[in-house]
């Protein structure tokens, strides 16, 4: 008897292929930027470019969002990026927020971990939602930006000619094949990237032998969303099992294949379903359930050495493959998108030299190495690669209950925002060194609630609400002094077409007459940033700090921006 499978509780919209005006088989219009791949990374890149007013053509081979079991955990940092591209509402509406997890060894709880969360935060540390949700939310947002984002469904890149001054792609559609030319290409075409292969580039690193079976099931349960890990559970001795709740009563169950188990046989329903049943029984889940999807996963820790190859930028899985443990795959790809989008926008608009794009590669390659090192550690624990890791893991798990110092080794090292500590863009390090606290150049902004005053209206908000797709100057003040010097700087930058937004951050309600300001209503902002009257933080369009001064002056700020843009 074949077991009954349920479909995912989601109906994907289908999109038709469309052809642009062609002349002799070539698209008439030459494009500044083409993005290949309509996964989370390609879509976020397109939205990021549109945010800066840059038109983009997005090429996608499929006719809809993805299906099957892929990314489910989206981090706070990714949500901040979604907020800036105008897509966060969907994530908040559909996603299940969560803050921690529990690990069990046999029947004892050996770790209860919490991700950073306090009442300074605007967004949860993590939300769970299926990758088809993620993509549909991004897509719906992209359709709202149809003035700038032109999506070509059912269109596959089949050849690429990458030159020093641009790229030419051959595209295949159900109607006909045609060519498109562009100044820049973002390759976000996933783990099996056609663009990567065509350019003769290879991912380097480690592929792990240990395999996991990934099962999505439909189960109605009121159990809260958290990460559950069972090591050597009574229901399935010797195995390691992970459980995650997703929206719409979908549950993700991952378990490790036993040594010597045949992968083909392991994913057959008759072998999977009894294991799921005994797991649910152990968890005390008595409700009816049905399988939705079964697949096999093998961890990879791989990256390209460089993400810029002339006119081609690699992003997301096309650039690196990160193990699923620690949930850094899609999250790191979304970071890539956020990074490459503003830099490409500045270059195509003529506001920056193309050297700026080299920093995309160096910053994101460094980030990938950090992600891979954490991802590797998580993988070594979740799927021990040798007898030694296996033996030591057993020692850790069996000692953790009585010896709390050892529990940290079980922590899944969930994804967190990455600091570009060695970025070539960072400026004024000697001034930064004078701070005892606060985000260093290259770091993202720690969140803090405050009261925002804009155009005569006040409302409660958070520090990250003050960011916009341009350089932002956070100017801390006690309300005395006049904002005229800063207004002159703003005008100067505007004259060079490099927009700069200056936001006054006041210690009290007295904002010194600034028309865009916020005040530190909780009294936590100034100490968190090590700020005094006159302190300045200069923030990049992607929300990373570029430089900071305890006492800033307009000349140094302008110089830091010009230095970063190489103009």
């Amino acid at each position: 008897m074949t077991p009954e499978f349920a479909p995912y509780p989601f109906t994907a919209k289908r999109y038709a292929a469309a052809l642009p005006p062609l002349r002799n088989g070539i698209e008439e219009k030459h494009r500044p930027v083409v993005v290949v791949g309509g996964g989370p990374v390609g879509l976020t890149t397109a939205l990021g470019l549109a945010n800066h007013g840059v038109p983009v053509v997005l090429i996608e081979a499929d006719d809809s969002v993805c299906t099957g079991s892929r990314a489910i955990c989206i981090s706070r940092r990714s949500l901040e990026i979604m907020e800036r591209v105008g897509a966060v509402d969907g994530f908040k509406k559909i996603g299940l927020p969560w803050t921690g997890g529990r690990s069990y060894y046999r029947d004892a709880e050996v770790l209860h971990f919490k991700m950073p969360q306090d009442d300074n935060q605007k967004l949860p540390p993590m939300v769970n939602l299926a990758q088809y949700h993620i993509e549909q939310i991004l897509l719906d947002r992209a359709e709202e930006r149809a003035d700038l984002i032109d999506i070509r469904w059912q269109t596959k890149v089949t050849a690429i000619d990458a030159r020093d001054d641009g790229v030419r792609l051959t595209l295949s559609t159900p109607h006909c094949d045609y060519e498109i030319t562009a100044d820049w290409l973002v390759a976000a075409d996933g783990g099996r990237s056609f663009v990567r292969e065509s350019l003769g580039q290879q991912l380097q690193g480690t592929s792990y032998e240990g395999r996991y079976v990934i099962v999505d099931i439909l189960l109605d349960s009121a159990r809260p969303a958290e990460r559950l890990a069972y090591f050597d559970p009574p229901c399935n001795p010797g195995s390691t099992v992970l459980v995650h709740k997703q929206p719409d009563n979908v549950w993700r169950i991952d378990y490790q294949l036993q040594e010597g188990e045949d992968p083909e046989a392991a994913i057959r329903p008759e072998n999977v379903l009894p294991r799921v049943a005994s797991l649910l029984e152990m968890m005390g889940e008595t409700g009816a359930w049905k399988p939705i999807w079964i697949t096999l996963y093998k961890a990879n820790a791989l990256t390209l050495e460089r993400y810029r190859h002339g006119r081609v930028m690699f992003a997301g899985d096309a650039a690196h493959l990160v193990p699923i443990f620690g949930v850094r795959g899609a999250n790191s790809g979304i970071d890539d998108a956020d990074n490459v989008a503003w830099k490409l926008a500045y270059v195509t608009k003529g506001l920056a030299s193309e050297k700026l794009l080299d920093s995309y590669s160096s910053e994101r390659v460094a980030a990938a190495h950090e992600n891979l090192s954490y991802g590797t550690k998580s993988t070594e624990f979740m799927a021990p690669p040798s007898f030694a890791f296996e033996l030591m893991r057993k020692a850790v798990l069996s000692l953790a209950f009585k010896h709390p110092q050892i529990r940290a080794l079980i922590n899944p090292r969930q994804t967190s925002a990455i600091t570009y500590a060695d970025s070539p863009l960072n400026s004024a390090s000697e001034h930064s060194a004078a701070f005892a606290v606060g985000p260093v150049p290259g770091a993202v902004l720690p969140e803090c609630p405050l009261v925002i005053l804009r155009d005569g209206k006040t409302h409660g908000g958070h520090l990250t609400d003050l960011l916009s797709p341009c350089f932002v100057l956070l100017h801390f003040t006690d309300g005395s002094g006049s904002p005229t010097a800063w207004a002159a700087l703003e005008r100067n930058m505007l004259a060079t077409a490099i927009p700069l937004r200056i936001v006054t951050l006041a210690q009290s309600e007295n904002c010194g007459g600034a028309d865009y300001a916020a005040w530190d209503s909780t009294g936590r902002l100034f100490p968190m940033y090590g700020a005094v009257h006159g302190t300045v933080y200069l923030v990049r369009p992607d929300g990373h700090v570029l430089a900071r001064w305890q006492q800033g002056n307009p000349g140094e700020i302008e110089a830091a921006i010009r230095r970063a843009l190489h103009v």
């Binding site: 010797g238 070594e380 007898f387 030591m392 798990l397 069996s398 080794l409 922590n411």
Partner: protein
């Protein structure tokens, strides 16, 4: 009191596992025994070592199963 931070513990743990992997399964026990002896000599406190021996043996009767 331990001065080992979580990330220090993480790093030495991984180093330990990798070294034991290189030593190989056949000599794994010998590697652990030697490490234990060196640790005893370095700890240099009889009472502490006696405690650690007891803690290491604790529950092993029940953890002897699979995994």
């Amino acid at each position: 009191m331990s001065t080992l931070s979580d990330s220090d513990l993480d790093a030495v743990y991984t180093d330990f596992c990798k070294t034991m992997t290189k030593v190989g399964e056949a000599d794994g026990q010998q590697f652990l025994a030697r490490f234990a002896l060196l640790a005893m000599a370095r700890i240099g406190d009889r009472e502490v070592i006696v405690d650690l021996i007891a803690a290491a043996a604790d529950d092993l009767a029940t953890t002897n199963g699979h995994l």
